[in-house]
């Protein structure tokens, strides 16, 4: 096994190398590049991993891509240009922030839609409920039960024309 050989090799050389001390070099030449690299790769999918960003992954592909993106940053490309390049090469799948287009409209619009529907549904329910109870208060208990059944039939939550109040 190759690894075993490497491990032994390493052990042999370990003592010799631990003497010279200096400040560690970042993988990129300057911190600004590094910052941009993290921001870009933090939203991109590592295509060979289970579910990891390129920033987080240690897979070979991710290491290579990080090196490439670093190079592109240093050669003056903008973030958008870099991302466009990757999308052209790998498709939308590489983006953890899916682009807004026809097939993702409901994905991006859905939560807002749910929210609005939820709030309006809630308001509608509260108002209707109070009206039902107000109607019920004036009557005797037996009448109340009857009225509740009537009202439930008359005004279901989603109006249903096939339902008529029991006669």
């Amino acid at each position: 096994m190759n690894l075993l050989r490497l491990l032994t090799l390493c052990l042999a050389l370990f003592a010799a190398n631990s003497a010279n001390a200096e400040e560690a070099r970042p993988l990129a030449a300057d911190p600004v590049t590094e910052q941009r690299l993290l921001a870009i790769t933090g939203e991109l999918r590592c295509l060979v991993c289970q579910n990891e960003t390129i920033a987080a992954s240690n897979a070979d592909l991710a290491n290579d891509l990080r090196e490439q993106i670093r190079g592109m940053i240093q050669s003056g490309k903008s973030d958008d240009e870099i991302i466009d390049f990757l999308v052209t090469r790998y498709g939308d799948y590489v983006l953890y922030r899916p682009p807004v287009k026809n097939i993702t409209l409901f994905l991006w619009g859905g939560p807002l839609l749910f929210f609005i529907a939820g709030i309006f549904g809630l308001r509608h329910y509260l108002v209707r409920r109070n009206r039902q109870i107000a109607a019920g208060d004036a009557l005797s208990d037996a009448d109340k039960r009857l009225a509740e059944a009537l009202l439930a039939g008359e005004a279901p939550v989603t109006p249903d024309p096939s339902k008529t109040p029991p006669s």
């Binding site: 690894l3 075993l4 490497l6 491990l7 032994t8 090799l9 390493c10 052990l11 050389l13 370990f14 190398n17 631990s18 003497a19 010279n20 001390a21 200096e22 400040e23 560690a24 070099r25 970042p26 993988l27 990129a28 590094e34 993290l38 939203e43 999918r45 289970q50 579910n51 990891e52 960003t53 987080a56 992954s57 240690n58 290491n63 939308d92 799948y93 590489v94 983006l95 953890y96 922030r97 899916p98 097939i103 409901f106 994905l107 991006w108 859905g110 939560p111 749910f114 929210f115 939820g118 549904g121 809630l122 509260l126 409920r129 109070n130 039902q132 019920g136 509740e148 439930a152 039939g153």
Partner: protein
């Protein structure tokens, strides 16, 4: 022989579960005492049979019986004993058996701790649980039998997935499953109540402690999984909105809505239909989670399509569970009364708002989780939905919810007054705003995200304290103030503790999200790097041999202001059975910050002794994330132990 006994016990269990379920439910409906009486021994027999079967599988693991296919796939003779025992739930078949085991234990617990329940109600609850168990037994026996033999046997097993060989992953699945499966009890209570046509306050009171217990387990299970991801995966994240994580988060969100809605149903008799629907949805989401994780649909829609038997079965089961309960609901629900009257601004309406927001959040997570699968299945494209999406849509929904946590407890039942609450809370609001503006500067720059998070956290804590003081004053009488604080009922303490847990959690998420620092560096032995005043000096790597792996162990000296703190030993492990290297990060944990170092790859693979890619992180308040979860769970536990649940139990007459 032992595996065959386990297999046989499962078959017997299926017969017991199906017959107990059907007879108990039918007996309760027709009021036949002998059939109703079957529920209790049935639940016991089921639990014993499944436990026996589970032990048989564990035995096969501990004995390294590699003639059992599942054992050969999941274990190895070099695997330490604890991982062989935990290896039972390392794969699909065993996980399901664990699921089933938990279900039968919950059923047994219902049987033991429900003396206050009327005989027919108990029979119904146990009957429903038995039918659910029968469904799972059928699933296991038809598609996922862990006892199948591999003939001829193999001399050595393949080994447990190295990722699972960790104490965190030993505890995580059982906790999570206790939560998932626990919601089946809430579901069974709801269905039983629908069958009897009596959805009353007593029903809500019975289900509350059970639902809370499930929620506590689920909270701890999710927190455990998140913590594991943090220290094991080596990228320092604590939540990735991975579909597997979402699968457990959705029932949590729905379950959180359910425990709040049950409060209204118990105290005020309102929202009964809503509560029933939530109980059904929460359990359905637990099943959906099982489906997503277990059917293979997440890894690839196409892999799923080529071997769909498991997926189809769970899907069919899901359809039956949801369909049958909804049909029952449509049939029974209109007979249920409306409950007490309340104003548009009241404790009830605020709790309902909480529910709507939580359900919208659940829907959003569901949408984001299923969307890429649907897009892929329809062959219209291939997209990824990840953290940037979820953070963008989730935070706006959660923000009003966090604000309402502060307001809710001050709102009176029936009718609350906005001016009164505004008067009570104006100082808390002012202080929270001031802290939210000022505190971030202690860490660095002020950003809206951090400001909002700090505001929410401080607001929740202040309002909780204010409410505690106010409540203590109101009930003080002639005694001392401190005594009055201590005398507050447990559900009250539980609520505030859980809410403060949310605040602690939010503070952790906010500060670590806003101010964590990360450096990706090349280090040769002797080099050092600093983040946020913490200096890491790399001394080199050495070889370490584990029971079934070989590792590079980095030796890193952590110091602060030139003072030595401690040694950190991150590892890169290669398990004998897997080519994929595993990262073991080294963490110096603290209340105010973690510093975290993980080994990447050697820069030059031919000379690994020279330079390594390493990641070092400074993570302020990151432990508050899990601390908050523990507080939430603790709050739930205390609320669950509230005296009134026990008084009712000892005094059956009080339950009408």
């Amino acid at each position: 022989m032992t595996p065959e006994l386990g297999h046989f016990a499962l078959i017997l269990a299926l017969l017991v579960a199906a017959s107990t379920g059907v007879l108990a439910l039918w007996g309760a409906q027709k009021n036949r005492a002998p059939w109703i009486a079957l529920a209790k021994p049935g639940a016991l027999a089921l639990a014993l049979l499944v436990t026996f079967s589970y032990l048989c599988l564990t035995w096969a693991f501990t004995q390294n019986d590699f003639s059992v296919r599942y054992v050969a796939e999941q274990s190895n003779s070099l695997l330490p004993l604890v991982y062989r025992v935990a290896g039972v739930w390392g794969g699909h078949e065993g996980s399901l058996l664990l699921w089933l085991l938990m279900l039968t234990w919950w059923t047994l617990l219902v049987r033991l701790f429900s003396r206050a329940l009327p005989e027919t109600m108990r029979a119904r609850v146990i009957g429903v649980l038995c039918l659910v168990a029968a469904g799972f037994l059928l699933f296991i026996l038809c598609t996922s039998n862990p006892f199948l033999r591999l003939l001829p046997g193999v001399p050595e097993g393949r080994d447990l997935n190295p990722m699972l060989q960790d104490p965190g992953l030993v505890i995580h699945p059982p906790l999570l499953y206790m939560g998932y499966v626990g919601f089946s009890v809430a579901y069974a209570f709801a269905v039983a109540a629908l069958m009897s046509g009596k959805l009353d306050a007593a029903w809500a009171r019975w289900s509350r402690p059970w639902t809370m217990a499930a929620w506590v387990f689920l909270t701890l299970g999710i927190a455990m999984g998140s913590w594991w991801a943090y220290y094991e995966l080596g990228w320092g994240g604590w939540w990735f909105w991975d579909p597997v994580e979402n699968a457990s988060f959705m029932p949590w969100l729905a379950g959180t809505a359910l425990i709040h809605s049950l409060a209204v149903t118990e105290k005020r008799g309102g929202f009964k239909n809503w509560t029933v629907l939530l109980a059904v949805s929460t359990f359905s989401l637990s099943l959906l989670g099982t489906f997503l994780v277990r059917s293979g649909v997440l890894t690839s829609v196409h892999a799923f399509a080529s071997d769909p038997s498991r997926g189809i079965f769970i899907l069919a089961f899901l359809v039956v569970v949801i369909g049958a309960s909804l049909a029952l609901f449509v049939w029974r629900a209109p007979k249920v009364g409306l409950g007490g009257r309340f104003g548009l601004f009241s404790r009830e309406s605020l709790l309902l708002t909480n529910n709507v927001l939580l359900v919208v959040a659940t829907g959003t997570v569901l949408l984001g989780t299923l969307y890429p699968l649907i897009i892929d299945a329809l062959a219209v494209g291939k997209i990824s939905v990840g953290p940037p999406y979820f953070n963008a849509v989730f935070v706006p929904i959660m923000t009003p919810l966090l604000f309402l946590i502060g307001v809710g407890p001050f709102a009176r039942w029936k009718q609350a007054s906005i001016p009164e609450i505004a008067r009570l809370l104006k100082w808390a609001l002012a202080v929270a705003i001031i802290v939210a503006i000022a505190l971030p500067f202690a860490y660095g720059d002020w950003t809206p995200f951090v400001g909002l998070g700090i505001f929410a956290a401080v607001w929740i804590v202040l309002t909780a304290l204010l409410h505690l003081i106010r409540q203590a004053r109101a009930t003080q009488g002639s005694g001392s103030f401190i005594a009055s604080i201590l005398k507050q009922p447990r559900h009250f303490w539980g609520m505030h503790l859980a809410h403060i847990g949310v605040a602690v959690f939010v503070a952790g998420v906010t500060i670590v999200g806003g101010y964590e620092e990360e450096k990706d560096v090349k280090m040769a032995p002797g080099d050092s790097v600093s983040v946020a005043g913490n200096t890491f000096r790399f001394l080199g790597v050495r070889q370490v041999k584990g029971p079934n792996y070989l590792a590079w162990q980095g030796d890193v000296e952590l110091s602060k202001n030139d003072r030595f703190q401690r040694r950190l030993l991150p590892e890169k492990r290669i398990y004998h059975s897997s080519a994929m290297p595993m990262t073991e990060a080294a963490i110096d944990a603290g209340i105010l910050r973690d510093v975290y170092v993980s080994l990447g790859e050697p820069i030059d693979r031919a000379h690994p002794e020279t330079e390594w890619a390493m990641r070092v992180y400074y993570k302020p308040l990151v432990d508050w994330i899990w601390g908050g979860c523990i507080l939430m769970a603790l709050g739930g536990l205390i609320a669950m132990l509230d005296r009134r649940y026990r008084i009712r139990r000892n005094n059956p007459k009080a339950v009408s």
